[in-house]
């Protein structure tokens, strides 16, 4: 399973980088779908098939299709591609990249240290176990989640009506 994990992780990182760098919106979205699917593979390899399925269906499926529809409706052409490129000149990258590299440099030794110590057994968490948790101790979280969605719904309704 660990080969699958590393393969999925590598694809996810590379495709996410490509999402940021791409100036063509449609290509960027396709890379985003790829990245989300790769994350789904990572979840699967970690023993969480339910989360992997949700990731594939909800994110890669529903949300990304919505994104693609919006992009197609906006009908962006060469002009927007040029604008994107103008917004991202190379010098913009310097500061964020430096900061991120510093953070990575500090985190990496920690992560390797943990990898050397921990040797936790592989536990698969199936659909039943997840549901038992959701409707057991976390049932109030599910109820509150419905109110969270209601808040989003009412906000969106008010902003988007007419």
């Amino acid at each position: 399973m660990s080969e699958l994990f590393y393969a999925g992780g590598l694809i996810a990182i590379v495709s996410t980088l490509l999402v940021i760098v791409q100036s063509n919106v449609v290509h960027a979205l396709i890379y985003l779908v790829l990245s989300l699917l790769a994350v789904a593979v990572v979840f699967f390899s970690l023993g969480a098939p339910f989360v992997a399925l949700l990731e594939a269906i909800v994110y890669a499926g529903a949300i990304m299709v919505l994104f693609l529809f919006v992009v197609m409706m906006l009908n962006l052409g060469q002009a927007s591609r040029d604008q994107e490129r103008a917004w991202l000149p190379p010098r913009v990258w310097i500061v964020p990249c430096t900061l991120v590299l510093v953070l990575l440099g500090m985190l990496l030794p920690q992560i390797f240290e943990i990898a050397a110590v921990t040797n936790s057994p592989f536990v698969e968490v199936g659909v039943k176990a997840v549901s038992a948790e959701l409707f057991g101790p976390y049932v109030l979280a599910v109820e509150l989640g419905s109110f969270l969605l209601l808040a989003g719904l009412i906000s969106a309704y008010h902003i988007a009506k007419r």
Binding site: I114, A129, L140, F147, L148, A151, H158
Partner: protein, 506 residues
């Protein structure tokens, strides 16, 4: 199959998941939820702003009453209850639930006066207010990162709609849309950062409980868990608008309609602050020097940046935004004076008192602003208030009390709050923080008094006439009166309130 058995074990271990007794502890939350559903049905039957407002206020009063009954039980020594892993109902949580419900009550009344003449659907404002309150109440009583995230998101999700509320009216729509969009993007980034931090903490401690034993030793935890803690701090600092994460504050305050800004400045800060206080108390994080260093830097930078940037503001909403940055800096000084350490009671009560006072003062200030404005024309610029003392002396007096309170002048609650922070900082010998506190307060005096100076100026031609108060503003006038009385009472006779707050941490 193997994991079928595991699942059955899990089911057996937790069934029945929530007992009636536990549900009784969540009565304020349930009342709020029921009010939301009821108000929504009432709107579906017939749109009527007054009826929706009455339902909202009654629901909030009922929730506050239920919480006060719980509070009297808990203060008399009833044991606090952990309701599922998600909520810890103790005196601390219930106290903040009462404060949040009363604050929301004031906002519902203010919103009624402010939006009475909006040329758009007005009823959803009260619905969103109720949802934001439910989120805030969840946050203040949460014992688990899951409920923290859900509460925080519910609060923000309702706020997006409330900030963009006048979007379909003819005046001020672009500003509110810009403000809502800014808040949406930045708040989403902050939430994502916070979630990543929680994941890192979980990877190290294996627990998501804020109050459980596993995360109580975070102060001594591994560096990776500390990175997680820092990322959680980023999310909290964004919501409290501490210095490097404050950039959204003035723009959102300026663009959003006044009742929404008041919600952002009161409920938003109190709920996040209450969670932060509980997190620090239970995790013993302040024993770790790198954590205290980071928080001290945030506090000093917020105090200095907030006060200095407020000096040149001519828009009263922006001025209050920068002042909120400075005030949250003072509040962090109170935290650093020993929350979660041996002498925690004094510092923690100073912090809780400061939070309460700041919420009351900013609620009062925004209430004065909103009674002088309506959704068509906001009186935001400082020169609008020129000569207010000669045109409407009572309003000017109320606004002056709030400005004195924010500046920390004696006989107002602001003085007692600042004095407590000062005292706690002296007790724990935080001399650097103390210097920032004194310097910031001195700078702050200038711009708060400038507002009063403007109001004392003779009313010239440029002084705008404020709108006449109609019948819809009666509730707002009563609210302002009550807030002013509270601020003066807590400033002159703070004893009962201080004893009450000290009992929260006993």
């Amino acid at each position: 199959m193997d994991y079928d058995n595991a699942a059955r074990d899990t089911i057996n271990a937790f069934a029945p998941s929530v007992s009636w007794e536990e549900l009784l502890w969540l009565l304020p939350h349930e009342i709020l939820g029921a009010t939301i559903v009821f108000a929504m049905l009432a709107i579906a039957v017939r749109r009527h702003f007054f009826v929706t407002t009455v339902i909202t206020t009654l629901g909030l009063i009922a929730a506050a009453l239920a919480a006060s009954m719980q509070f009297s039980h808990l203060v008399q020594g009833a044991p606090s209850a952990l309701v599922t892993p998600l909520f810890l109902i103790d005196a601390f949580a219930v106290f903040f639930v009462i404060v949040l419900c009363l604050g929301a009550l004031a906002l519902a009344i203010l919103g009624f006066g402010y939006f009475a003449r909006l040329d758009d659907a007005r009823e959803e404002f009260q619905l969103l207010l109720l949802l934001a309150t439910l989120g805030a109440v969840t946050l203040a009583s949460s014992a688990h990162f899951v409920s923290v995230v859900i509460g925080l998101e519910m609060l923000s999700m309702a706020l997006y709609g409330m900030i963009a509320y006048p979007i379909h009216s003819k005046v001020g729509a672009e500003h509110s849309l810009e403000a809502a969009f800014k808040y949406l993007v930045l708040s989403a980034v902050a939430s994502a950062t916070m979630l990543f931090g929680m994941a890192l903490i979980y990877s190290q401690t294996g627990a998501l409980e804020v109050v459980g034993s596993a995360n109580s030793m975070l102060g001594y935890a591994s560096p990776l868990a500390l990175v997680g803690v820092m990322l959680v701090f980023v999310g909290i600092a964004f919501k409290l608008s501490l210095f490097p994460f404050h950039l959204w504050t003035p723009d959102v305050y300026e663009g959003a309609p006044l009742p929404s800004v008041a919600l952002l400045a009161t409920l938003g800060k109190v709920a996040v602050g209450a969670f932060f206080l509980r997190f620090l108390i239970h995790s013993h994080l302040l024993l770790n020097e790198s954590v205290t260093l980071v928080l001290a830097l945030l506090a000093v930078a917020s105090i200095l940046a907030g006060n200095v940037l407020a000096l040149r503001q001519t828009n009263l909403k922006r001025l209050l935004a920068y002042s909120s940055i400075a005030h949250m800096g003072y509040w962090v000084v109170a935290l650093l004076s020993g929350v979660g350490l041996g002498s925690q009671n004094m510092a923690a009560s100073a912090a809780a008192f400061y939070l309460l006072t700041y919420a009351a003062l900013s609620l009062g200030a925004f209430a004065c602003l909103s009674i002088a404005s309506s959704s068509e024309s906001e009186a935001g610029v400082l020169s609008d208030y020129r000569g207010l003392f000669w045109r409407s002396p009572w309003l000017a007096l109320a606004l002056s009390v709030m400005m004195f309170g924010l500046a920390g002048i004696p006989l107002t609650a602001g003085f007692i709050a600042k004095f407590q922070v000062f005292f706690a900082a002296v007790e724990s010998s935080q001399w650097g923080l103390l210097a920032a506190l004194v310097l910031g307060s001195a700078i702050g005096l200038f711009y708060y008094l400038r507002v009063i100076y403007q109001m004392l100026q003779p009313a010239g031609e440029e002084g705008r006439t404020l709108r006449d108060l109609g019948l819809e503003s009666v509730g707002s006038v009563i609210t302002i009166t009550l807030v002013v009385l509270f601020v003066l009472w807590a400033g002159i006779l703070p004893e009962p309130l201080l004893v009450l707050i000290a009992a929260l941490f006993g």
